[in-house]
């Protein structure tokens, strides 16, 4: 088991640039430049982005003529806020309605509130407001406070999407082509983004009220695609959406909401959804599809998570000891799942060896409790709860975003990077800490899905910057498996002379 104590001491003064020869180099080293990537590193500051000051419903009263008839207001309340709104409206306009109606609706409202508070005491997350819930379950650290709301690499090209505080999404490409800005009326409080695999254009956006699928034509030069390019998918009772996951074949999209006990499996093009309901847990907060597409992790707000197999869609229940599952990532072959729990400072591993018999218990593979490193300007404490986990597509580097302590001034959030080894036994080895510029803390990270020379970690910082940290290494074992395929495929180079078999289409 690896712990933070064996890590090389973090360099606090300067930004980490890249890894080479098994060493993380920072800007302190003379003569080293960030020569790696011509990828865009935009910076967004909170001042330039203006978030929505108030939710839509509270500004209604400013514009609405209050002398509407009771019927009109009741109909409006029913439309906007459902039964609650209607009862609330009737109770509030007690002088206009018969006394028995006002008293009756007040009683029903009280009863409903009592019932929901009882429900809320079972599942405390249900008492949160929609925005608080998104902030709680987002993979972005300090979601509500951050200029960047979410980030996603395209799985096949050098293209990424960033969701910003002002509810817009920007798409950056490696070359200096225009950066489209996506805005939509329904696009509020973006919690997660994911590009559709095996597709050049579709981007799924998890919003507060619905799921948006943008179709951004890669060949288009337009900087403001119209909202007609977006599909709106919604299901009653399924909002806010905090996590989405495309199947690796790109045919299905799964979405999850902490208030809905069923997760939705969408056939996006047909706009139809199949709800998969399991009541235990009180909702679904985080979804992660294994890269081979055979399993899907679904975390709930309670101390319970499920692993679905995606052939017949049955699930295994995994009760946890302490808190809920905060983050997880799959190994590239889909055989190993790393998990982090809320309130625990360790990383668990589940190994799925064959299709029938799954693992019986999770094993602890890393200890991330606080460790203090002496530095030139005072001690630096690192370690804490895991906010998110990310494994590079080759399966050689594991990045862990560790929550800091905002009260203490020398305990920032950091990214710890491990080397991973799967043979002979699964093992995590220390690699180093990825540090930002002075004063900047990491908020979110994701590995580039197909970096040629090793792995490339993209980090969103608290100062609104996005930077890329390449890890140069030669891959050990995984690519070796490809060589027979290469040889096989190279047979195709001359199909006309290579016809071994006569075509017989009967």
């Amino acid at each position: 088991m690896c712990s933070l104590g064996v890590f090389p001491a973090p360099v606090t003064a300067a930004q980490t640039l890249f890894e080479r020869n098994n060493e993380l180099l920072s800007a302190l080293h003379p003569g080293e430049h960030s020569q790696a990537c011509d990828l865009p590193s935009p910076q967004f500051t909170r001042d330039t982005l203006k978030g929505h000051s108030r939710p839509e419903s509270s500004s209604r009263s400013v514009f609405l003529d209050q002398r509407d008839t009771l019927w009109m207001r009741s109909a409006g309340a029913w439309r906007d806020a459902g039964l609650y709104g209607l009862l609330d409206e009737i109770t509030n306009s007690a002088e206009e309605v018969p006394r028995f109606l006002a008293v009756g609706s007040a009683c029903v409202l009280a009863l409903l509130r009592w019932a929901s508070s009882f429900h809320g005491s079972l599942f405390p997350h249900l008492t949160l407001s929609s925005d608080e819930m998104v902030a709680e379950f987002s993979q972005m650290l300090d979601w509500s406070d951050s200029a960047l709301r979410s980030f996603a690499w395209h799985p096949h090209t050098d293209k990424f999407a960033v969701a910003l505080l002002d509810d817009s999404i920007k798409i950056y490409k490696s070359n200096s082509s225009p950066t489209p800005t996506l805005k939509h009326r329904c696009q509020r409080s973006v919690c997660a983004l994911q590009w559709k695999p095996l597709c050049g254009s579709a981007l799924a956006v998890a919003c507060q009220s619905c799921l948006l699928i943008w179709h951004v034509d890669p060949a288009s030069l337009s900087t403001r695609p119209s909202s007609g390019c977006a599909q709106v998918l919604s299901h009653p009772g399924h909002s806010p959406i905090t996590s989405i996951a495309w199947s690796p074949t790109g045919s299905l999209l799964v979405s999850a909401s902490p208030v809905d006990t069923s997760m939705m499996v969408w056939d996006v093009a047909a706009e139809s959804a199949v709800p998969l309901q399991r009541v235990g847990g009180g909702g679904v907060t985080y979804l992660s599809w294994s890269p081979d597409g055979s399993r899907l992790l679904a975390a709930t707000p309670s101390a319970l998570f499920r692993v679905w197999e995606t052939r017949m869609w049955t699930c295994e229940r995994w009760p946890c000891l302490k808190g809920s599952c905060q983050s997880a990532c799959w190994s590239p072959d889909g055989g190993c799942l790393l998990l982090s729990m809320q309130g625990e400072r360790v990383i668990y591993a589940l190994t799925f060896s064959d299709l029938t018999g799954g693992p019986k218990a999770a094993s602890v593979v890393a200890d991330l409790s606080e460790t203090t490193f002496p530095g030139p300007d005072g001690d630096l404490t690192v370690g804490g709860e895991v906010c998110s986990l990310s494994w590079d597509p080759r399966g050689e580097r594991l990045a862990v975003l560790l929550k800091g302590d905002s009260q203490a001034d020398n305990h920032p959030s950091v990214i710890a990077v491990f080397k991973t080894r799967s043979s002979p036994v699964f093992e995590l080895l220390p690699c180093g800490f990825v540090m930002g510029e002075a004063g900047a803390e990491p908020r979110f990270m994701q590995f580039h899905p197909h970096f040629q020379h090793g792995a490339l970690l993209t980090v969103c910082w608290s100062d609104g910057r996005i930077s890329h940290v390449p890890f140069y290494f030669s891959s050990a074992g995984l690519l070796g498996g490809d060589s027979p395929q290469q040889a096989l495929a190279s047979n195709t180079t001359n199909p006309s002379s290579n016809k071994l078999y006569t075509e017989q289409i009967s």
């Binding site: 597709c199 050049g200 890669p218 299905l252 199949v274 027979p484 395929q485 078999y501």
Partner: protein, 637 residues
Amino acid sequence: MFSLKQNSWFIRKVVIWRAVASIAWSVLLLPVTTAVFVLLSRFSLFHPIQWISVVPSIPCSRMALLGTVLHPRQCVHSLVYCTMGMLVMWCASVTIGGRYSTLGTPCRQSESGEVVTCLNEYHLFLLLAGAFMGYSHSFLGVVQNMYYVSFQPIQQYKYPRFKGCLPMVVKCSVIQALYSARNFAALYFFFGYVPKTWISSTLNLQIDSSLQPLDSLTGLLDFSLLYHLSISGAFLYLTWYLTVLLFRIYVTEAYSFPVQSTFTEDAEQCLPKVLAEKNTLVMKFLALQDLALLSQHSLSRRLEVFNLSQPGGHPHNWNAISGECLCLLSELTQRLVAHQDAVASNGRVKSQSASSDTRSASSSSSVVSGTEDIAETPRLSVPLRTPGSVFKSSVGGANRVLTAPFTPDVDSPFSSPAIRRLVGQQDPHSPWSGTVQSPHIMRRGPKLWSASTESQSNGSPPGSPATVPSPPAASQKPSFLAQWLQNRREQVKSFLAKRVLIMYLFNKLPEASSQALFADSQAHIWALQGLSHLVAASFSEDQFGVVQTTLPNILSCLVVLLEAVDRHFKLPHASSKPVRTLCSMGDSTYKTLRFALRAALKTAIYKITTTFGEHLNAVNISTEHRKRLQQFLEFKE
């Protein structure tokens, strides 16, 4: 009768058991629903299972819909449902008891004071409500395509699926019962006296004048009556909907066909043979679904597909499977191309006939080969395979009868003469069925028809225009009488065209033709998924290189289909999204099948291009297809 035999084993071994199981389950569930019903107020009947279709029937105009609803088969169906509704309602009224129990009640006549048998209007009301609900269920079944079975995008076991759908079914039946109760109450209010007087006169029952008549406002505002009406209605709908649901779940359950069999007598039950099935659509659909599943989930069965035949070493399995998939896809391509050409020529002929002052059909169709944005090449001479004719070979029974006379584009008598001529030559055994050919090749065909007369098109179908020796219009001067008749007909048409009701009935529903084209596209989606995953898997699993030989064919077939689909989505109404219905038992997924097909097609091409990458440059395909594939390699689609 080979195919019949083939069907019979499937029907005998699979479908029957599924049907029996679904009936058994619905019968087993009856006590539960009955208990619920008894709890709320206080039997259900065996009813015949509906033979559900996997391809929806899409009427293309309101007239077609009317034709479907008034079709004798549908009338019989409605009648059966009305009777069942009445029967269930009779049971319901007997179980509720009290004032509802019998049709005749003793009552005292006001003047003489003697006891006579009076008509119990409450009982009659419930019976008629049952008949009304039965009819409306049967009617909505047609309008909402309730007997169309769609396949779910994911596989689930039957019990979880049933459990997941149950709340929806209960909700739908309650809502439908409330709607029906409202509609029936309104209907009874206006026309209730007709059955009442008829029944009382035929059965010689008196009408009790001391009671409030139910076809009055005060009589209908009886909450107890309305409550019992909606509760019994909900129970009635629930039993019907449960049957539909269970049937859907059982029919769409995946069936695993063997890829190859060691015994020759089982050969016709194997996947390659079953895929080529034309008559039993359920079996074909299940086979394609199985293909899509095995290509994604089962390594051992994929290896069987890539395997060589034992004596001889031919890749029969792969050739049959890929050939059948390609045949399906190219058939769709031809259908799309034919539709586009029909639409394109439709618009142009109309505009030209409007501008030209001579109304003779010969002049309007002789200028057909004009300029058009997509037609640098002359118009092709594909026989128009409208969806009706496409289903003719595949869908048996009523579907053919219903859709064939009301095919899109040609259903209105106001469509252009050129199109109506084309319909005359539609032919299920057209030279295009089954051959893999790109529209680029097809487009090079010269325009074969040059002139036509209206009478030819309206009459019995003529032979191919190439064989009909119709003399050129310029050389033949039409007789005065023919000219006069022609003019009369045009006048009648334009007169009718101005009548709102006629136009309303005969005008095409905007999206319907597009929906009808893609009505069976679930099959194509599975074919695409199956092919692409098999090809992608062949990269590492195909030991003998059997896929390599067909790779150019597959790629060009996909690209040609993509071009046809792209052009189709440029047509008006093709890319407009249908309105989503919130709560109905009818399955509306057929409305979005074209979008699903487009997405599946692109994903399929991406799946192949990302797997093969640069190796695709070595595949022998034409330059323009290579260009298109290059777009996919660069993720620019």
